[in-house]
Amino acid sequence: MNPHPSFFFVVYPTDLNPNMTAHTPTSPALPPPDVRPTPANWVKQNLLTPWYNAAITVIVGGGFLWLAYGFLLWVFTQAQWQVIPANLAIFTAGRYPDESYWRLWVAVGIIVTLAGISWGVVARNVTLFSRNVLIGLGVAAVICFILPIPVVPWRSLVVFMLVLLAATAWIGQQLGKKVPKLGQYTTFAWLGSFFVYLWLISGNLGLEPVKTNEWGGVVLTVFMAVVSIAICFPFGVTLALGRQSDLPVVRLFSVLYIEIVRGIPLIAILFMGQVIIPLFLPEGMRPDRVLRAIVGLTLFSSAYLAENVRGGLQSIPKGQEEAAKALGLNSPLTVSLIVLPQAVKAVIPAVVGQFISLFQDTTLLSIVGLEELLGMSRSILANPSFIGRYSEVYLFVGLLYWIFCYAMSLGSRYVEKKLNTGH
């Protein structure tokens, strides 16, 4: 089994179905194609013949080009982008105090180091800097130099992070060849590093404390999303198992919880957390608002996640469980070694979809007054120097959300491929 760096998943035994070997049906050889499949031929065949296809191609292509031209014209001539560099720090970390900013960079540095090592470990048997990777790094570096961001600290630090990533990846690869268990260690390092980030961001224990009221922007968005995702996954799995349980009380509780939460809109749960709960509590007792938001997001997402996982559980044939029992495994072992790994593997796309939507749901917190990325943008747009720059700001914010969501999507595809030991 290959150890792999996994953000969300415990490492499962992957080769569970030794009896299902791969079969590829053989078929008679096809005749050779008439034309060579060059791009030009493909275009000619699919887009330009017969004449009405050509007409459709011209109309649609023309329309598309016209839109693209208008958009690019706006981007390069009309848009006033200075609102982004001027407020870069606020987009990133909201009103986080300047003198503690280095702590965020240290946290990013740790993330990049761990990511580099994990990457190196994963790619320890292949060429690390393949052509595509080099192109990717090159493009990232070029973008860093093109973007009009302040050289100190932004540009220099971003370039440093890229170098760090490449360096740690190489180190990870070399180490990975010598220490076979490095993959598992990095998984634990990822889990353990969370507390380091928490310490770096919030302070205390020797660092100047920064109240959650001063967290904001991307930092707050990512923090809330990551913590909610990490908590809601085990919670959701437990609920899914509870719903399948033979114990009536457990089953009833799980069904009630899932159905009640799924019947309430998320915004209502968040409002309850931010506004209603304080009404019950005695004067002066105020749970942290970010904590309340995380609890709300977690409660909500775990109900949906439970239903996703239940779909996976139901797809596992009864025979698997019976075979496990026949081998003498008790119930917890059957569930944790046989049923769950297969069930979760089957629903990875749905679960990651749920995570992505949870990430995007954090934007609702701007309505209840948390200064996450979208909420912060609203405040920036109210700055008299930048009134009316909403197109630029929302485009930029949208791009940031897309980058994060696409990264999650890529991660899920990788995990899926890694765990694909079926047919």
Binding site: E283, A382, I387
Partner: protein, 359 residues
């Protein structure tokens, strides 16, 4: 009793929230219930809570140009924000000892009733129902606004009557929208009203000539006009469609705390009348004039009466300046808006700002 009331209120709010996913309505429930839900204990005032905590929690909007926004340095600023700073300077001696809590217009009163914030400084219009049945106390008005109408100069529209068959853009769910309907009905015309959920797209639609007029508070219209593609092509009609006295708000039945917020606000106005600014406040503290000396705590014990230091106004004025300075910095000649003082001048100059005597 209080707990059960709150519970009932919350269930009601929860129910209505669950019933309709759009939140604007439930605020009404929150407002109604706020009065019953908050019979605060007379013995402990918010003032003691704030002093003990060491920070003032101030509810702001966080997204209104000139009133509250986050500047490039990452600090809140604006007229509403300066009022928070003034109160913090008076109570705690430090204008930066404020924790800003951003509040949506739908949750602001619930947050105040639940004690989430000590005070609101959030563009809240003083109305009788809010003052009585919602259970709020309104400190003196810090900005007299009124709803106006912006049109293109070449459109030929000169009064509301000219709007027959034309269209007006407005933000949805605000009193502005209701006032518009009322005024148009009174004028006997029936324009097409285009509502928008957010300010930015609404102004963009107006700029793209999708509607003939745009209605909002005059201060906002003037602020936004600077961002239209040709600001000089737009004029404000000479009509005021509603009165919008905006000011800080505290919760009912806590007169000690209300007095603090009220007199700090009056103090800003009185300082302008005395000609005390953030620059000359130190000299003025030694003034021969008994009125000024009393005001700045040189003699007498005005501060003690409301549970503050006698020189609390010195802290306030050195932190944010007098009302005139606050106005000019955020909305007037020192800001991008260059908004006329209008009604917001001292009574001695024909405005509405009038502070009762400090003695």
């Amino acid at each position: 009793m209080r707990k059960w009331n709150s519970l009932f209120l919350s269930l009601l709010l929860m129910g209505s929230l669950a019933a309709c996913a759009t939140p604007p309505e439930p605020a009404a429930d929150g407002e109604e219930g706020g009065a019953e839900g908050t019979e605060s204990v007379a013995s402990s005032s918010r003032l003691d809570t704030v002093k003990e905590r060491g920070t003032l929690i101030c509810g702001v909007d966080g997204g209104i140009p000139g009133f509250s926004f986050v500047d490039e340095a990452g600090d809140y600023s604006g007229l509403d924000v300066d009022i928070c700073k003034a109160v913090a300077a008076a109570v705690l001696g430090d204008p930066e000892a404020v924790e800003y809590r951003r509040l949506d217009s739908t949750e602001r009163f619930t947050a105040l009733a639940g004690g989430e914030v000590d005070m609101l400084s959030r563009n809240t219009t003083w109305t009788i129902s809010r003052d009585t049945s919602v259970g709020l106390e309104f400190a003196p008005t810090t900005f007299y606004d009124g709803q106006g109408m912006m049109v293109r100069a070449d459109s030929g529209i000169e009064s509301l009557e000219d709007f027959d068959g034309r269209s007006v853009c407005v933000e949805a769910g605000t009193t502005t929208e209701l006032n518009l309907t009322d005024k148009m009905r009174k004028a006997g015309v029936d324009p097409e009203v285009k509502t928008f959920q957010q300010a930015d797209p609404a102004y963009a639609a107006y700029d793209d000539e999708l509607c003939d007029g745009f209605t909002s508070d005059k201060s906002q219209l003037i602020a936004r006009r600077t961002t239209l593609s040709n600001p000089e092509d737009h004029v404000l009609l000479d009509v005021t469609m509603s009165k919008e006295p905006l000011g800080p708000v505290t919760i009912n039945n806590d007169s000690t705390w209300f007095d603090v917020v009220k007199w700090v606000t009056f103090g800003l106005i009185e300082a302008e009348e005395f000609g005390i600014t953030s620059e000359n406040v130190e000299e003025m503290a030694n003034s021969e004039d008994p009125n000024i000396s009393r005001f700045l705590g040189g003699e007498g014990d005005l501060g003690e009466g409301i549970g503050l230091d006698n020189d609390f106004m010195v802290n306030v004025i050195s932190a944010v300046g007098n009302y005139g300075e606050v106005y000019e910095r955020n909305l007037g000649s020192e800001s991008q808006f260059n908004l006329e003082r209008g009604l917001n001048t001292l009574w001695t100059e024909g405005g509405l700002l009038y502070a009762p005597p400090f003695r």
